[in-house]
């Protein structure tokens, strides 16, 4: 995941590399996702990766509902 100055720069990067445009998040949205994703202590023996259903719930709670966030 890269950072871009603006949507125009995202579009140009996608065109340059002939890649379809994916999800675009504001820094605030990205920070919200980072806090949920990485906020847990991975040293904790009880820590485990989220299940598919748990991950879907995280995305839904953050309002990430476009096809880019569809895990199935």
């Amino acid at each position: 995941m890269l950072l871009f100055r603006s949507e125009e720069h995202v579009d140009r990067w996608c065109a340059t590399w002939r890649l379809p445009k994916g999800a675009v998040l504001s820094l605030k949205q990205g920070w919200d996702l980072a806090r949920v994703w990485y906020g847990e202590d991975r040293r904790d023996p009880a820590w485990r990766r989220r299940t598919l259903e748990e991950t879907e719930a995280v995305f839904a709670e953050l309002g990430f509902t476009s096809e880019s966030w569809n895990l199935r």
Binding site: M1, F4, G22, N70
Partner: protein, 143 residues
């Protein structure tokens, strides 16, 4: 604590204190374990998608990178590297620390700075996830 949990504990303990994942040989010393056993455990953790390995060493202990990347993160304790802009923010989240992120626009290369202070992110720019979420682990280095 099971073996792989102990290994994971030490991996993240070192990473969170020093800013980069330890070498397998360091882990063997810290855990007082044979190197082959450490490598086997790391491989199991990688198979469970808890780490990313490259040539027998940890490449990524998310959100930290073992190698320099375009996402440099500076805390009050050290400078380190995130695997991507999301992971750079993830380092602030994992450490619960203020950070300064130095990176550049993926398109034009212009320098960009992002800060997290007091749990609030500041800076300009947009994050682009080139791959759909279901494909993130198909090529995690590209992701």
């Amino acid at each position: 604590m099971e073996l792989d949990q102990r290994v994971r504990w030490v991996v993240y303990d070192v990473t969170m204190r020093e800013g980069a994942p330890p070498l397998a040989s360091q882990l063997a010393t810290l855990l007082d374990m044979p190197l082959d056993d450490v490598r086997a455990s790391l491989q199991r953790l990688a198979s469970a998608r808890m780490l990313v390995m490259q040539e027998g060493e940890i490449l990524m202990a998310g959100p930290f990178s073992a190698v320099p990347t375009p996402f440099r993160v500076t805390t009050s304790e050290f400078s380190c590297y995130g695997n991507c802009i999301w992971d750079a923010l993830g380092i602030a989240a994992m450490l619960q620390s203020d950070v300064e992120i130095t990176t550049s626009c993926g398109d034009c290369g212009a320098a960009m700075r992002v800060a997290v202070r007091g749990g609030v992110v500041a800076g300009d720019g947009l994050m682009h996830f080139a791959l759909p979420a279901r494909q993130w682990w198909q090529d995690v280095v590209f992701t």
